[in-house]
């Protein structure tokens, strides 16, 4: 039965889609709530009955899968409209309001927020990479019990506190120590310390993945410990570390949003300011889109890297 339906192609799916949509949008709810719930459930059951096998079928063309997925979204929206008495006009006005975003300065402020977020990201990324690299290398080369204890403590502490808490504590407490940093500097320092802790672990794993005999072999030629690290271990670690590293990198870009709590005018902060100024949530939607603009290419590159992960 199911095979027959799949072989019949998209036509039954399309028919069921329009029938369902028609019911959800047009049928009067006069027969009774119980009937309405049952009917709505049936609409989705029938649709999913065709939709799921289609998605799981490896032979089905991509466009068919995409369109049927969009169709499902439309059905969900229609059910939302029917059941929640959604007011499309109001939703459009509050969340997708072009007029609000075309007010003077709105988009400029959003874009400057993007630029500041990217700056926070780049500064903390570079500093955290250096910090993590330094810690991991010191740990591997010196391998001193006391130093290892300090490094491990640092890693454990900074991985155990939520970034947002660390940001607020640092931002409000630091001035009492006499150190006054700009919000931007505070944000970069806190994100660097947190990210550095994770990257220490990432790099350490990469270094330890290289067999000890590689180091022995390098040292037996007369290379110093640092030369063995730089010329033999690190070049081999890079390929092992790259997927984990780039995943951290994506996470860091997302975590720049948390610096909004210490008044850094990055995307989220600007969006929230505009939201309260205009009494309209469109800036938040635009902010989400700005993150996607940066992150989507990054995630694509990372999944490419992961496919290239060396077979060991």
């Amino acid at each position: 039965m199911m095979r027959v339906l799949i072989k019949a192609g998209p036509i039954p799916l399309v028919l069921i889609f329009f029938a369902s949509l028609g019911y959800l949008l047009a049928a009067p709810a006069t027969i009774g709530v119980a009937f309405d719930i049952a009917a709505t459930g049936a609409v989705f059951a029938i649709f999913l009955f065709l939709f799921i096998p289609l998605q799981m079928d490896k032979g089905a063309p991509l466009w068919m899968k995409t369109i049927s997925a969009l169709a499902l979204l439309v059905l969900v929206a229609a059910a939302f409209f029917r059941w929640a008495d959604a007011d499309w006009g109001r939703i459009g006005y509050l969340f997708f309001n072009v007029e609000v975003m075309s007010r003077p300065g709105a988009m400029v402020r959003m874009l400057s927020g993007l630029w500041i977020a990217v700056q926070v990201f780049l500064f903390s990324l570079v500093l955290a990479t250096l910090l993590g690299m330094f810690m991991a290398i010191v740990r591997s080369i010196l391998n001193d019990a006391l130093l290892n204890f300090f490094i491990d403590t640092y890693v454990d502490v900074f991985r155990a506190v939520p970034p947002i808490v660390m940001l607020l504590v640092t931002y409000s407490a630091l001035p009492y120590s006499g150190i006054v940093l700009s919000p931007f500097a505070t944000g970069v320092v806190v994100l660097t310390l947190i990210e550095g802790a994770y990257l220490t672990e990432v790099f350490r794993a990469g270094i330890e993945a290289i067999h000890r005999n590689q180091v022995i072999s390098a040292r037996s030629i007369g290379l110093t410990a640092w030369q063995a690290m730089r010329l033999v271990v690190l070049p081999q670690s890079v390929r092992i570390v790259l997927p984990d590293y780039s995943n951290r990198l994506i996470g860091l870009m997302k975590r720049t949003a948390e610096t909004s709590v210490i008044a850094i005018a990055e995307i989220l902060k600007v969006a929230q300011d505009l939201q309260s100024q205009y009494v309209n949530a469109t800036p938040l939607i635009v902010g989400a889109l700005l993150y996607m603009v940066v992150l989507f290419p990054m995630t694509r590159i990372v999944s490419r890297l992961e496919k290239k992960r060396p077979r060991t």
Partner: protein
């Protein structure tokens, strides 16, 4: 160093009372050896007898707990000696080749020349190519280790040591990881080196090869030397019961 006795030059490699503890376990219990310049010494003994650890003490890849190692008359176990300088002068070849997988054969061999001997890159590459030619790998300069057979990889490892113009080379079971048909190509290279007068310490159980190449044979057992002497004598008329038992196992 005093040169009072010209007729008996200092041995190239000398170990005096080497002892080694590994987390409380007494691995080496006082070992002395003396290898003259141009001599080949073979170390034998069952696994766990300490021969491999001892070999690694000779260039301080392992630090001996007690005892001194002298290379060409210099005490290298002195904390003031530059251990990297010493290691550059003593080649080492491992059972598992331990080539650097991210470098071509040529780069593997040139690495030490560039970064330890501080030769200019082009000069280092010429010297590396020459060393690879000596082990009959002139056609494989640009290949990566994983593109080479085990025997070829081990010859690259030998070339890597040779290129540094070492005073001596240490071999840690250089053919144990090889398929049987590749053993001879590596042994041939070592035999040629012996004929050219290279000082070598070799851990090996290839009796036929040792008979031709090794000048002295040193039997290890439980962290001690139980017997030593000219190779043929120790192989044919072992005096110690441990040596006799071991020879039986080998045959």
């Amino acid at each position: 160093m005093s040169d009072a006795s010209d007729e008996t030059p200092a041995p190239m490699i000398e170990a005096r009372g080497i002892q080694k503890y590994f987390s409380g376990v007494h691995i080496l219990r006082g070992i002395d050896i003396s290898v003259a310049s141009g001599e080949v010494a073979a170390l034998m003994g069952r696994s766990g007898s300490g021969k491999s650890t001892f070999l690694r003490c000779l260039n301080r890849i392992e630090e001996p707990t007690y005892g001194d190692v002298l290379i060409d008359g210099t005490i290298i176990t002195d904390l003031r000696t530059d251990v990297n300088r010493i290691r550059a002068d003593i080649g080492m070849v491992f059972q598992d080749y331990n080539l650097f997988p991210h470098m071509t054969a040529l780069e593997n061999v040139a690495l030490g020349l560039i970064h330890v001997r501080k030769l200019p890159r082009s000069e280092a590459q010429d010297a590396a190519a020459a060393a690879l030619e000596r082990v009959d790998l002139a056609d494989h300069l640009a290949k990566y280790p994983q593109q080479l057979s085990g025997g070829q990889q081990q010859r690259v490892a030998i070339a890597r040591s040779l290129a540094m113009r070492p005073k001596a080379i240490l071999f840690d079971e250089p053919t144990s990881a090889l398929d049987p048909e590749m053993v001879h190509e590596v042994l041939d290279v070592i035999r040629t080196l012996a004929a050219e007068g290279m000082t070598m310490v070799v851990i090996s159980h290839e009796i036929g090869f040792l008979r031709k190449v090794a000048d002295q044979l040193i039997m290890f057992d439980a962290g001690l030397v139980v017997e030593r002497g000219p190779t043929a004598r120790v192989l044919d008329e072992p005096e110690h019961e441990r040596t006799r038992a071991f020879m039986k196992v080998l045959r």
